[in-house]
């Protein structure tokens, strides 16, 4: 059927919360009522990157973005725009993702918002699964070489070179190997993996299959947060479709390579984002981390060599195979290549999801892509990397966000969450919520973290209650230092990041509470 107009509705967890399904139904009904259902097509797609535009959709070919649409608006929009050809100006704007969402630089999110994530045909129509075919023809060695050339590094936080990781498992002589996708995104203020999976689930499957081929794994698990219902259903649908097309299962593309994928649903535990805790959870246990060594690449799931990768990392692989490792390596900085997906939140005009080259400065992210601070607000700090991240002050606005530059400031890229805080923010309140987060999410296995998290919260509560003295601030630092040095895994080693940066850059805000009877409000 030929439509004169297409409406691409963004259906993700943000818009679902705003009632997108009802609006879509209303629009379909309204179009049918006006006899326009054969002329105007309504499609569902994944995220464009916006998260604060309510129910929103793009009209093609007009290239207009309607936002914050309610069911009540629908009759008027249909009447004015699609019957009379007069766009409703107060509800729409020119779709200019090219600028504010850095559309042209997208690799991982390239198809998101453009294709129907629930249709494998649409993915194939944009050259989907071609890289898998190419990879199978190239052979393991050549694919591995390409990935190494690309210098792709893990996007889950630690930044370990993906090629090296795959090679480690590929080298193991064990016959049974696994690949596990870490989709247990739980870092506060992070939802990039969610939107990647919601927007383009087949890209993850393709990337995962390529990685499995290199590592020699015949079974893959996607461990996904229990709360991510839409992701789960879209991924399960995608797996079913890929199986039907012979893109998963036995003898893919006649190459002799077999690969099965299963979705495993978590049940609410941030710690399961730690790869060894995730493996324990996958096996049916408590999500406690394991000792390393042995590393999962050597002895992981059920003691077998296992590659554990983040969603975003694997979603880069199809493009690397398609365009070559050198192309990928040319993007970003010499040591941090490619793009990075960030979630920008807080006091900015355009909070949302962006994908920009590694090395983009914090300032650019805030002011160019994030649309700057809300009217009348002044920048105070950016919390980069989520709860396990660091507060960056004004002085560091020009810092390039990549693995090297951040580590120079003892900060981390982490999950790619960036929370922008304006001058009005009560920093202590933010710190307290972070420490409460750790207290809530500590698995309790090791003493330093189990006890340390509680002590930290107690100290902050004491400061907030105005009952602390300077020694308590020192104790925040010393306890978090003990945790950093002796905690079993990254979770317990992390609280020092927000604490130390807070004390270093915003110590005066804490001092305001010392010795004064003041409430934190």
């Amino acid at each position: 059927m030929f439509y004169r107009s297409h409406l691409l509705f963004v259906v993700d967890d943000h818009s679902l919360g705003k009632g997108v399904k009802k609006v879509i139904k209303a629009i379909r009904d309204e179009l049918a009522k006006n006899g326009l259902d054969n002329e105007v097509g309504v499609l569902e797609t994944g995220t464009l990157g916006y998260i604060s535009k309510g129910v929103h959709f793009i009209v093609y070919p007009d290239n207009l973005l309607y936002h914050d649409v309610t069911v009540e608006d629908v009759p008027f929009i249909v009447l004015e725009h699609f019957l009379k050809g007069r766009p409703v100006k107060k509800l729409c704007q020119e779709a200019k993702q090219e600028v504010d969402l850095a559309y042209s630089q997208r690799i991982v999110l390239k198809n998101s918002g453009k294709i129907d994530p629930e249709s494998i045909d649409e993915y194939i129509a944009v050259d989907g699964y071609q890289s898998l075919g190419k990879a199978l023809q190239m052979g393991k060695e050549a694919v591995l070489q390409e990935i190494k050339t690309s210098n792709l590094r893990g996007r889950g936080g630690a930044g370990f070179p993906t090629g090296v990781k795959l090679e480690m498992t590929a080298k193991q002589e064990e016959k049974q190997k696994y690949i596990v996708v870490n989709a247990d995104e739980g870092e506060a203020g992070t939802f990039k993996d969610r939107l990647i999976m919601e927007g383009d689930p087949h890209k993850l499957l393709e990337g995962m299959t390529i990685a499995a081929f290199v590592a020699g794994a015949d079974t893959g698990y996607i461990y996904i947060r229990g709360e991510y219902q839409l992701c789960i259903s879209r991924l399960e649908k995608a797996i079913k479709q890929a199986k039907e097309y012979g893109l998963l299962g036995k003898d893919i593309f006649g190459s002799g390579f077999d690969f099965e994928v299963m979705v495993k649903v978590g049940a609410g535990a941030y710690i399961c984002g730690e790869e060894t805790a995730l493996l324990n959870s996958l096996e049916g246990g408590r999500g406690n981390p394991r000792c390393k060594p042995p590393y999962p690449g050597v002895s992981g799931l059920w003691g077998k060599p296992t590659v554990v990768n983040n969603v975003e990392t694997l979603s880069n692989l199809p493009a690397i195979i398609e365009k070559g490792g050198e192309w990928f390596a040319s993007i970003g900085t010499p040591k941090s290549c490619g793009t990075k997906v960030y979630t920008i939140l807080g006091d900015v005009n355009n909070p949302g999801l962006i994908e920009v080259p590694m090395g983009t400065t914090l300032s650019e992210i805030i002011f160019k892509y994030g649309g700057g601070l809300k009217e009348g607000e002044q920048f105070k700090a950016a919390l980069v990397g989520g709860a396990a991240g660091m507060f960056l002050p004004k002085e560091l606005l020009q810092i390039k966000l990549d693995f090297e530059n951040l580590s120079k400031e003892s900060a981390v890229l982490g999950s790619g969450a960036i929370l922008i805080l304006s001058e009005r923010t009560n920093m202590l309140k933010v710190l307290r919520s972070i420490l409460n987060f750790f207290l809530h999410e500590s698995c309790g296995k090791c003493s330093p973290c189990r006890i340390g998290c509680k002590v930290l919260v107690n100290i902050v509560d004491k400061i907030v209650a105005g009952q602390a003295d300077a020694s308590d601030v020192q104790r925040l630092l010393s306890v978090s230092k003990v945790m950093q040095k002796t905690a079993f895994c990254a979770l317990g080693q992390s609280p020092i990041m927000p604490i130390a940066s807070m004390v270093k850059y915003f110590g005066d805000e804490i001092e305001k509470f010392i010795g004064e009877e003041r409430k934190c409000k």
Partner: protein, 582 residues
């Protein structure tokens, strides 16, 4: 391979952790959760060390050695970290040292002291909780728990009892039973292995010292005491004596000094058990009864089989354990012999075992009209009483037991070690079936610390040319027992007779033995029993003159009506969640 520790070369074996290699090399790295018998967890974090070329500190207990690895185990920085970490751990521990059973043995106390940590100026943060003292055997006080995880490993991985687990997560997490119910409402079998491995006294036995003291003070009571075979193996080590030797005479002397009216010996009842159980085995073989016959001396094992393997209940010997046989005989045979009203007798036992407390309280253990055993003390409680009376145990003159129920054979003695019941039974069963004694009384195949032991024995039947082939197996530790039974159930193994002891090593490794006993201690104690056995005048139960006497004067013969009435019992399945009989 070679590693470098604090600048000095040290030989290490591939596959060892840093902790194992350094302990072998006599270099001490402090730790709270590490125990050499158990799979390390890395929970406490106290054992962090610096490895050259690595930015982060590593836990010695879980980090494998590598060729040429250079390790710093102590430095001003590491010491400072350890002290701060221990201070934090101490805040989460309800410090009640003077009233704590572990006082003086507590691993946390020792470490805090050794590291010269001063009292914290900060408020403790431990979560207040009610002490669970509803079980007859084990008391659990989670306010002392430091979450080392040893009890979890022992209860679930080694014993496969699955009573204790971690509930919840993070600071709120708690080491307890499912739904935080009392141990009495859980599948806990009272083996007490958790109490042996607990470093801080969060798990201990339910004490009965006061009841015993009360009886000792009461002039109207005749207080009779029995001591299990393995008790005498652990006393020497506690009082600074040669730990490889048993201390029988001093044990009797100490009991007399404490005021017990009659000092007998459980070893006598062990001989009695062999008479009954050996006869039961022969009867089952001859009459086509349920086989394999499985021993019933270990009350932890008995509750375990009732809970997890009810299909094996017909296999379990109907014999009461030596403790209970002894108790029943005290209130009948002894009372009659001495003309005492059994109501005036208080029957006390000294046991290496926490489950014996539960066993003594089983309601069916009263065939004489009185509870067979009134009070059970663990070895630890016994030691506490000796120390409490300031008895100079080491220098006590050797005492003697009272004859009537105090004489025993070497077969009774070895009951305390894994394989001992089997060996004792073989000695007697062989003699009964073959009409002559075994040429070599030492049945080496069933001795030692291997988890499951098997042996096959040819017994030439007397007055016949047939040779009976008897297949036997021995398992100690309930995990091994489970493995063995599953194989038997699946038809992979088949036996006539199986000995099962709940605790690793048998009673020498019982849950009532001194805190901190490790596998090596258990093995050594077992050997001391075999040494004692070899020196005994009588080495098979049926040769013990006092056993002959009790049958002649009271019981008649093994499996007689009277025997059945007093010395045998029955079992009922239990609920896997509540541990209760329906």
């Amino acid at each position: 391979m070679q590693i470098v520790v604090n600048g000095k070369k040290l030989e290490a074996k591939a596959g060892q952790t840093i902790m194992e290699a350094t302990r072998e090399g006599d270099i001490y790295i402090p730790s709270l959760c590490y125990h050499k018998d158990l799979t390390p967890t890395g929970n406490c974090g106290v054992c962090v060390v610096q490895i050259e070329g690595m930015a982060a500190l590593k836990r010695a207990c879980v980090t494998p050695v590598e060729e040429g690895m250079s390790i710093i185990t102590d430095s001003p920085d590491i010491r400072k970290l350890r002290k701060e970490l221990l201070s934090l751990i101490l805040l989460d521990h309800d410090v009640k040292c003077p009233t704590c059973d572990q006082n003086g043995k507590c691993e946390l106390q020792e470490l805090i002291n050794y590291m010269d940590i001063s009292e914290s100026e900060y408020e403790p943060i431990f979560t207040k909780a009610k002490v669970d003292n509803l079980s007859d055997s084990i008391v659990k006080d989670t306010t002392k728990c430091i979450h080392c995880g040893r009890c979890i490993t022992v209860c679930n991985d080694i014993q496969k009892v699955h009573a204790l687990c971690v509930e919840g997560r993070g600071f709120e997490s708690k080491i307890t039973t499912a739904f935080d119910s009392s141990l009495v409402d859980s599948p806990c079998v009272n083996c007490g292995q958790c109490t042996v491995y607990c470093p801080v006294g969060a798990l201990k036995e339910k004490t009965e010292i006061e009841e015993v003291q009360k009886a000792l003070f009461d002039p109207s009571k005749i207080v009779v005491v029995q001591e299990a075979p393995s008790v005498r193996t652990a006393l020497g080590e506690e009082f600074g004596m040669d730990a490889t030797k048993v201390t029988v005479g001093k044990m009797y002397a100490a009991l007399r000094k404490l005021g017990f009216d009659r000092v007998f010996d459980t070893n006598f009842a062990a001989d009695l058990t062999i008479m009954e159980e050996g006869s039961e085995l022969i009867q089952r073989i001859k009459e086509g009864g349920t086989l394999p016959l499985i021993t019933s001396c270990s009350p932890g094992w008995v509750k375990f089989v009732e809970t997890y393997f009810p299909d094996f209940l017909p296999n379990v010997s109907s014999c009461k354990s030596p403790q209970q046989m002894f108790g029943a005989m005290v209130k009948t045979y002894f009372a009659k012999q001495e003309g005492i009203d059994p109501k005036d007798i208080v029957s006390v036992s000294i046991m290496p075992c926490t489950a014996k407390k539960f066993e003594a309280k089983r309601p069916e253990m009263n065939s004489s009209g009185y509870q067979d055993v009134d009070c059970v003390l663990t070895v630890r409680e016994f030691i506490k009483m000796i120390k409490g009376a300031k008895i100079d145990f080491k220098n006590l003159p050797e005492g003697r037991a009272d004859q009537l129920m105090g004489q025993y054979s070497g077969a009774g003695t070895i009951f305390g070690a894994t394989g001992g019941v089997m060996e004792a039974a073989i000695r007697t069963a062989y003699a009964i079936l073959a009409g002559k004694e075994l040429d070599n009384l030492n049945v080496e195949a069933v001795r030692g610390m291997q988890g499951i032991k098997e042996a096959s024995l040819d017994i030439p039947l007397k007055d016949s040319s047939t040779v009976l082939k008897v297949n036997v197996a021995v398992a100690h530790g309930l995990g091994n027992a489970k493995r063995l039974l599953e194989d038997v159930r699946a038809g992979k193994r088949s036996y006539h007779f199986i000995e099962i002891m709940a605790c690793p090593g048998g009673c020498v490794g019982g849950g009532g033995q001194p805190y901190g006993s490790d596998i090596a201690d258990r093995a050594r104690r077992g050997e001391s029993l075999y040494k004692e056995d070899s020196k005994c005048e009588y080495r098979a139960s049926h040769t013990n003159p006092m056993i002959k006497k009790i049958y002649a004067e009271f019981l008649g013969e093994p499996l007689s009506h009277k025997s059945h009435q007093y010395l045998h019992t029955s079992y009922k399945p239990r609920n896997k969640v509540t541990g209760k009989q329906d």
